[in-house]
Each structure stands twice: as structure tokens, then as C-alpha cells.
Amino acid sequence: MIKKSSLWILAGLLVLVSCVKPPVDPVDPNENTKPKISGTLEIEFRVPGSFLPPSRVLRADLSVAKDAESLYRGHFLQMANVYNSKLVYQFDLAPGVYYYQAGIICIAEGDSCSAASFPGGKFGMKWAIGTTEVKQDKTTHVVPQFTR
């Protein structure tokens, strides 16, 4: 009798344990490892050399838009966080044609930035704008070209 009731308790416990759901993290930890259902735009963001020290001309902006008007109006699809230490940036996008812009900023003092053709002197920016096509399951590689 005791053995039978013990078995029932054990079985009940097993059912209870199996019914406990593991806690669900609202943030998907595998967000960056999801299978791709799109193409990739890979932008090699090179900062053009000048007579200014490299630490005075920095990457400032890298944005992608669906068309030229959206780019002009600042309605971007994606914007990358740009860093001094990172050269290549990737965007996962649905297949199609996209516009991109890359911006560099001059942070040198005095009239150095104006002399290097950055409009407005310190904190002046130069832009490189282009268009490219992203294909399904392919990586499109572009290198923005800045004017001297």
C-alpha cells in the first residue's frame, strides 16, 4: 500500500516537473545567428588619406536607404554604428537596389579642416554616396569613394 502511494506521488512529481516551462527570455539570444533570408551589403569604409593625421579624420556615418529621396530626407532603412577600429560593415537586406551614404568628419583644430577641403572647418563632413544591388543569398561588396 505504501509502495503504491509512493509511486503515485513520484508520478505526480514527474508530471509537475515536466510541466514547468523554462523561463523565456523576451530577447532572442540567437538573434545574430538566425538563418539568412536575404542578401548582404558589405561596405568597406575606407577613410581617404590626406595631409591630416589619421586620428583627425574619422568615420562618422554609414546609412542605407531604399531610394535617393529617402537618403536625402534621412529616412534610412539601416544605420551602422561606425568605429575607428572597424573597416567593414555589413547590412542584411532584402534583394533589391539600395542607396548608401558614408560620411567622414574632420576634428582637427584651426583651419586644418578647411585646408583639407572639409566644408565649414572643424566638424566639417565629406560624403560619398552610391547605389548598389543586393542579391538573394549573395554578398555585395562596395567601397565608397570620397572626392579629394
Binding site: P26, L58, A60, F76, N81, V82, Y83, D92, M125
Partner: protein, 327 residues
């Protein structure tokens, strides 16, 4: 004989022993500030339920002569002696403990990197000297973010931000704190508000060129959802974001570890203290603020129309609210 019987019949038990008046000292040397502060209090004992009756202000403070000094040592010599003076210029937060008189000890002193600092506190009422020692930190250099507003921060689902800094000499722990600034309008009344989001503590790596902390864009959206109230009549506008990068000495690391929740079978850990003849903490910290950074238009639109935050009443990057534009 009757007196003897009365004495032997005493059945009362003294639950509390005499209060030992143990000194409690807290001092975090801040290399980002030109003033340093020491907080000195003592343990207290009351005969009532301690959680229901807050102590008197005076029962938490020492009386009599108190001398607080600090020495800066380098190459085995005292380079500088700093004397602290009593002040009550910093108000204490209201709460369980009395807050009308917040006595601290203050000294004007810039903390020199990579030096040894020794703290001495003489308590005249107890004829006792408290002592503690710590090393000041090296210079904290932040790599990302740079204080450039044109370099906007993108933080939304699928897009994280990496904060980087150079390892600091003598540091044992680091933390990045994000402050999200926004304007809230309710019934025509505007208020500038902020939401602080501390990241988890980071420990120094070995021989790393730089240390980093990845800040999750998805988590950021959930943090906004969890901490801001939604409701009709509330309009919010994104202002920007501040980053605060803090490094703490080894003593701070040990203190944080000793006060963090236990994970193993040992549920109660002794709280770390490096104060001789007392309890508390004497340590050093370095801090850098990168303020007034702007969020990217995509981030602002994600906050305005994203699945987790769309009910919080944020305007999009055009300062508009177009309900048809659900991302």
C-alpha cells in the same frame, strides 16, 4: 537572606549586549573630481524592532574629536598629506534612516594616478585610529563612443553598440551606464527626464589591447518598455544618450562580489571590508562621461513605432507621429 533569594530568582535575559559603536567608513576616491569625501558613521543598537523604528540621528554619529587625514605615497615616501573637514553640503536621500543632518568629511584633492593613498581617522571618543589603504587607478581612456555628435548611436533590434576603453592600471572592475534622455509632455507640461540603464559589471581581461561591452539594441527596447509608462495624453521626444564608463579598484571589485547575490550553497557571505579597526570600504574609481550623443533616425523611429515601444508616445525623427508607419 531574602535579598539573596531575590537575586537568585532574577530570570530576565539580556538579549542585546552593549553596543560596540563599531565605526563604519566609506570613501571612494574619485579621480574625475577635485573634491573627495569620507562618510563616517557607527553601528547602533535599539531595544525595539529595528526594522520598524529608525535610529536617532545622533546614535549613528560619533561625537568628540574626529580627525580625518589622507596621505599620498609614492616610491615609499609621503608626497602629500590631505586634511578633511566636516561638511553637510550634500543632502542625503530620504528613506528609513534619518536624513536631516548628513555629515561627511571633505577635502580638496585631485587624485594622482598610480599612487598609494592611506586614510587615517582618529576618533577621540574611542581613543582609536582607523586605517585603510588603496591604490589610485591609472588613466581611463575611452575609445568608443567618442564625443562627436555627428557619429549617431544606432541601438535597435538587430543593431547593437560596442563600447570600448583601454584597460586601466590597478582596476578590478568596470561598468558602463547608459542614460537615455527624453522630453515628456503631459497636459501641456514639459519635463526633461532620463532613464539610467547600468550594464553588467565587466572584469579586466588579460593583456587585452582594449576592453569592450556590447550593448544590446533589443534589450534597450525592452528596457524602455519595462520602465516607461504608456498611456494616452503622454507625448515623448527623444533627446539623446549619455555614456558613463566607470572603473573601480580591486577593493571595489571584492566589495561588489561580496554584496552580490549568492549562487552556490553558501547563501550568506561576509561583506568585504578593508578598514582596520572598523568596517567599510576605502577604494578608488575613475569615471568618464561622454554626454549629449544623438540617436540615429532609425533608432528614434524604432522607439516611436517598434513593437515593444510603440505605445509609449514617442515622436519619430521628424518630430511627428504617423500611426500608419509601424515598423
Amino acid at each position: 537572606m531574602t535579598a539573596g533569594l531575590m537575586v537568585s530568582c532574577e530570570t530576565g535575559i539580556e538579549i542585546n549586549s552593549t553596543n560596540q559603536d563599531v565605526p563604519i567608513v566609506y570613501c571612494v576616491l574619485n579621480s574625475a573630481d577635485s573634491f573627495q569625501y569620507v562618510r563616517l558613521q557607527k553601528t547602533y543598537l535599539i531595544d525595539q524592532a529595528a526594522l520598524e523604528f529608525p535610529p536617532d540621528q545622533d546614535s549613528m554619529l560619533f561625537t568628540g574629536e574626529i580627525v580625518v587625514t589622507m596621505e599620498r605615497w609614492s616610491a615609499g615616501k609621503v608626497i602629500e598629506t590631505i586634511r578633511f573637514t566636516e561638511t553637510n553640503e550634500i543632502p542625503k536621500d530620504s528613506g528609513f534612516f534619518p536624513s536631516e543632518k548628513n555629515i561627511l568629511y571633505m577635502a580638496k584633492a585631485n587624485i594622482v594616478p598610480n599612487q598609494i593613498y592611506r586614510l587615517y581617522i582618529y576618533l577621540g571618543s574611542k581613543e582609536k585610529i582607523l586605517y585603510a589603504e588603496t591604490s589610485s587607478l591609472g588613466k581611463l581612456v575611452v575609445i568608443d563612443p567618442l564625443p562627436i555628435q555627428e557619429r549617431k548611436i544606432s541601438l535597435y533590434s538587430g543593431n547593437n553598440y560596442t563600447c570600448r576603453w583601454q584597460p586601466v592600471a590597478n582596476a578590478g572592475v568596470y561598468q558602463v551606464v547608459l542614460r537615455f534622455n527624453y522630453k515628456e509632455t503631459v497636459d501641456g507640461i514639459e519635463k526633461i527626464k532620463h532613464l539610467d540603464w547600468p550594464q553588467t559589471f565587466a572584469s579586466p581581461g588579460s593583456d587585452a589591447e582594449y576592453l569592450s561591452n556590447d550593448i544590446s539594441g533589443s534589450r534597450f527596447m525592452h528596457i524602455l518598455q519595462d520602465n516607461l509608462s504608456d498611456g494616452s495624453g503622454i507625448t515623448r521626444e527623444v533627446i539623446g544618450m549619455n555614456f558613463q564608463i566607470v572603473s573601480g579598484s580591486m577593493e571595489m571589485k571584492y566589495y561588489i562580489e561580496s554584496t552580490s547575490p549568492s549562487e552556490g550553497a553558501l547563501m550568506e557571505k561576509p561583506v568585504y571590508s578593508n578598514i582596520t579597526n572598523g568596517i567599510g570600504l576605502f577604494c578608488s574609481a575613475a569615471k568618464i562621461d561622454v554626454d549629449q550623443l544623438l540617436l540615429s533616425p532609425v533608432t528614434i523611429d524604432s522607439i516611436a513605432y517598434g513593437q515593444f515601444t510603440r505605445n509609449l508616445g514617442f515622436l519619430d525623427h521628424t518630430k511627428d507621429r504617423d500611426s500608419t508607419n509601424n515598423l
